[in-house]
């Protein structure tokens, strides 16, 4: 099969790629200079500062603190992704079935927070959730609670802020995928005797799986690298990788450790993508096919 395909091509096609590749050369060059070169430098610092070798990586194996940072990042990103996907799925599903006018409104409510700076949003949540904030005051006022709840400056606050940030990132790929699902299939399933739940679980849900995976990849990877939201809403009690890296680079000048952690973050993301590409067709996932 593969051999036959190779034989189909003229020898020239092997030596000269399609001229349309020329159009992406500027982008590739920019990526190479602005992205790849600093990345190589980053890797280099992680094995050369303060002394050559894998000492920094060894520290990750022995340091409980660094492992906790890594684990906290994975855990928080995981929980954020799960909640954002669930909420995003509901929003996308409703959007799909809403009338055009209604859909426009939902779209606006998804997109407008998307444009608000992450810093502004974090401070807005802080104002709402703090001990003497709006939420606690309201709950105290109606007598639902006797003492203010600890809603922020902890992991809960971080999750609220991150989920809020991530929901649009989940909605958009999910909605794009759902729009491509043949709308006659669910009614067909119903007409064959399946109930609404069964029609959803056995027909719609499996068809929306590529959308779920695409949204999962996007939200999880973005969540792993969060800096501002955990720093503000975590009140120092939630340290994720980015803040740890920032501390090592800017504050305590341990560049070797900082770049090592950045490299670990990058490697984690790449490994995830590779693992995923074995399960699903990535090209199809992002519409390249």
């Amino acid at each position: 099969m593969a051999a036959a395909r190779v034989a189909d091509r003229s020898p020239l096609a092997w030596t000269l790629p399609s001229p349309s590749w020329g159009l992406v050369v500027p982008l590739l060059a920019a990526l190479l200079v602005l992205y790849l070169a600093p990345l190589v430098n980053l890797l280099w610092i992680s094995v050369s500062d303060p002394s050559p070798g894998l000492g920094n990586y060894q520290k990750l194996l022995t340091s409980g603190a660094m492992q906790r940072v890594l684990w906290a990042s994975l855990r928080i990103a995981g929980i954020t992704t799960a909640i954002a996907l669930l909420l995003g799925y509901l929003v996308a599903y409703v959007m799909l079935h809403a009338g055009p006018r209604h859909r426009l409104w939902i779209g606006a409510f998804v997109l407008i927070p998307f444009w608000v700076s992450v810093l502004v949003r974090a401070f807005a949540w802080l104002t709402l959730l703090r001990t003497e904030g709006l939420v606690n005051q309201a709950l105290l006022g109606i007598g639902a609670i006797a003492a203010p709840l600890a809603l922020v400056r902890n992991e809960f606050g971080v999750l609220v802020g991150m989920v809020h940030y991530m929901v649009p990132y989940a909605v958009l790929p999910l909605y794009a995928n759902m729009k491509g699902i043949d709308r006659r299939l669910v009614p067909a399933s119903r007409s064959l005797g399946a109930g609404p739940l069964r029609s959803f679980v056995s027909v719609f849900l499996p068809l929306s799986l590529p959308g779920i995976v695409a949204a999962w990849v996007l939200t999880f990877i973005l969540s792993l690298g969060f800096l501002v939201t955990p720093a503000i809403l975590g009140g120092g009690r939630v340290v994720m990788i980015s803040e740890y890296v920032r501390l090592q680079i800017f504050q305590t000048i341990r560049w070797g450790l900082g770049t090592m952690m950045a490299t670990v973050l990058l490697a984690t993301v790449l490994l995830l993508l590779v693992a995923l590409s074995r399960v699903v067709d990535m090209r199809q996932l992002y519409g390249a096919k």
């Binding site: 603190a65 703090r130 001990t131 904030g133 120092g236 340290v239 800017f250 305590t252």
Partner: protein
């Protein structure tokens, strides 16, 4: 080619003579103008075209440093001073020096990381022939810099919530019986462990070297009682919002809170931790040695008082004390009677231990 080299050399020569004071600036410009060369005057030529770039952490400090320090220096010397707000952290200094494109002359900084930067060859030793050691308290003079201003991490408190009771410095920091409520704590360490240890009854003169293990254990015991802040504005907000009853607060912010709340949110000088604001000079700084003339000019008591007026930073020059109005005496952490109630930070301990303890501290708080 040769002609232009010659002209350049001529300009250089004129510049050198200008610097030695053999000719004045007008003569140079006249001569160069005759040659059509005015623009060729090199940047090193005395005051002409020279600029000193000063970087601090932004906000009101940009304008304040310009008013108190930059403007008067320019008036005296003709050298332009540009104050920029940014994030001149130790890491940013390292990044700039290693990139080879050094555009900052001097930055705002803390004393304890000067030896670390110095050892890595990123900053210069101070030129004490120009900057006067005698105008600074001896505990704030170091190889790579001396105090340009002072700031103190004091125990601030909400007088309304304490029922008018005044905490005895940090000695009451862990006294949850008489002062129930949360405590503000500085995320970047300076003053945090001191507060906890003093709160546990450690005598101020036996504070250093800090017993980190004990401090960490104490923090663990009361972990939910501490609210961390990472910057001045955030600390102010914690007190304003009533999130905390007392705790770490810079005296600069404390005086602002005191003024705006009519004394409801205030502070005590007792056991405050006074730290020097030291301005490290980058290696191969573009303006050259002139930067030390600027640093020397900043030691003038009037200019230091100007900064105190605008920002609340304590003058590093004790001579400023005699010129203070009663209102300024109240907010100046360097004013002798206030200073006596506080303690200077142990810079050597921080230089030795900061990076390790800071990381452990964050781990403790996140754990």
């Amino acid at each position: 080619m040769t002609a232009s080299r010659f002209h350049a050399d001529l300009a250089l020569l004129a510049a050198e003579r200008l610097e030695r004071g053999e000719i004045d600036r007008r003569d140079v410009l006249k001569a160069l103008g005759a040659l059509g060369l005015a623009a060729a005057l090199p940047a090193t030529a005395g005051a002409a075209g020279k600029e000193i770039v000063v970087v601090n952490f932004g906000g009101d400090a940009v304008k304040a440093w310009d008013t108190a320090w930059g403007g008067p220096f320019t008036k005296d010397t003709g050298i332009k001073v540009t104050v920029i707000g940014g994030e001149p952290t130790p890491g940013a200094i390292k990044a700039m020096v290693e990139s080879g494109k050094i555009s900052w002359d001097v930055t705002d900084g803390d004393a304890y990381y000067l030896p670390i930067l110095g050892k890595q060859g990123l900053i210069q030793k101070y030129d004490y022939a120009r900057v006067d050691k005698a105008k600074v308290r001896p505990e704030f003079v170091f190889e790579y810099g001396c105090a340009s201003y002072l700031y103190s991490t004091v125990n601030g408190y909400n007088a309304e919530k304490t029922g008018g009771r005044v905490p005895k410095g940090y000695a009451d920091y862990l006294n949850f019986k008489d002062f129930p409520g949360k405590r503000a704590m500085y995320k970047w360490l300076v003053g945090a462990l001191e507060a906890v240890l003093l709160g546990a009854g450690v005598e101020p003169d036996k504070l250093f070297p800090l017993d980190v293990k004990r401090a960490f254990a104490l923090i663990k015991d009361h972990k939910d009682q501490f609210v961390l802040w990472g910057g001045g504005a955030a600390s102010q907000q914690l007190f304003r919002d009533g999130e905390v009853v007392m705790g770490n607060l810079w005296s600069t912010r404390a005086s602002v809170l005191d003024r705006e709340s009519n004394g409801k949110l205030t502070w005590t000088w007792d056991q405050g931790v006074v730290a020097p604001g030291v301005l490290p000079v980058l290696v191969k700084n573009p303006a050259g040695p002139a930067v030390f003339d600027l640093l020397a000019s900043m030691q003038a008591p009037e200019r230091q008082i100007e900064l105190l007026k605008i920002l609340g930073n304590g003058p590093a020059n004790p001579a400023a004390g005699a010129l203070l109005t009663p209102e300024l005496k109240k907010i100046d952490c360097g004013y002798e009677p206030n200073y006596q109630r506080q303690m200077p930070i142990n810079t050597a301990w921080y230089a030795e231990n900061y990076d390790r303890v800071q990381n452990d501290f964050l781990d403790l708080m996140a754990g």
